[in-house]
Amino acid sequence: MIDSIDRAIVKATQDGLPLVERPYHAVAEMVGIAPDEVMARMERLLEAGIIRRIGLVPNHYALGYRFNGMTVWDVADSDIAEAGRLVGGLDFVSHCYHRPRHLPDWPYSLFAMIHARERADADALVERIAAVLGPLSRGNLVLFSSRILKKTGLRL
């Protein structure tokens, strides 16, 4: 959990860090605290995993990754921890989650995002996940994104 000063830092940085020589000083000015305190708090938030990382987020479409697939797998609840460990450990999977199924329309419980520049490469990645899961998967789908409708990130 975070306090009101941390929350003010979140608000000051949710559009990103100011692109200036002393960005943490600029944040300190917005929040109304000392620059050293901003930096100390951000170090602490990073260590606690409340900040996942600090850096840039590439627009993967702009880098040529046109095939962004949400692969979804029907895995028995008793197998999900093992399946998640296997798929989450693959170096080309960007996110891997266990989510609830919505029967009867949606039996899939393991989600893994993949990204490729060519369709054939994406298909090969799906095959690699299928190979790793073997009989743990009772069925799967790949949903490619056809359009980004909105991408603003977190807002408080």
Binding site: I2, L17, P35, M42, H98, P100, L149
Partner: protein, 147 residues
Amino acid sequence: MDDIDRRIINTFQGGFPIVERPFAAAARILGLDEADLIARVKALSEAGTISRFGPMWHAEKMGGGLTLTAMKVPEDRFDEVAAIVNSFPEVAHNYAREHALNMWFVVATERPGRIREVLDEIEARTGLAVHDMPKIEEFFVGLRFEA
């Protein structure tokens, strides 16, 4: 985008320093100078090659709510429904996907209880069911993309 831009993208998808002049420290790693790095990051942002620069916050660890949801939207209402969904500031990402469930969006809220309210409001305003798929467990987050 040139080779230096590619090195910037490949090097700083994390690990950006927390020091008084972080661009100067980062620039040293890349063999650039501070002003050049700032100018390049600005240009990459303006060109849309990078969509964000700064801290990536973990919504749940901040005590907030976060979920992924899916809707089955009739094709002839797709744009209208997208406009309604996107009008909520709590909707962080929204993607069209090729499936009967053709609209997938992430809702992030300051209070966990607000998630249900947003989904209820979207259902009321669109007349469509919103399938809530909050994560039960996270196995991995954080691939680096190569430029």
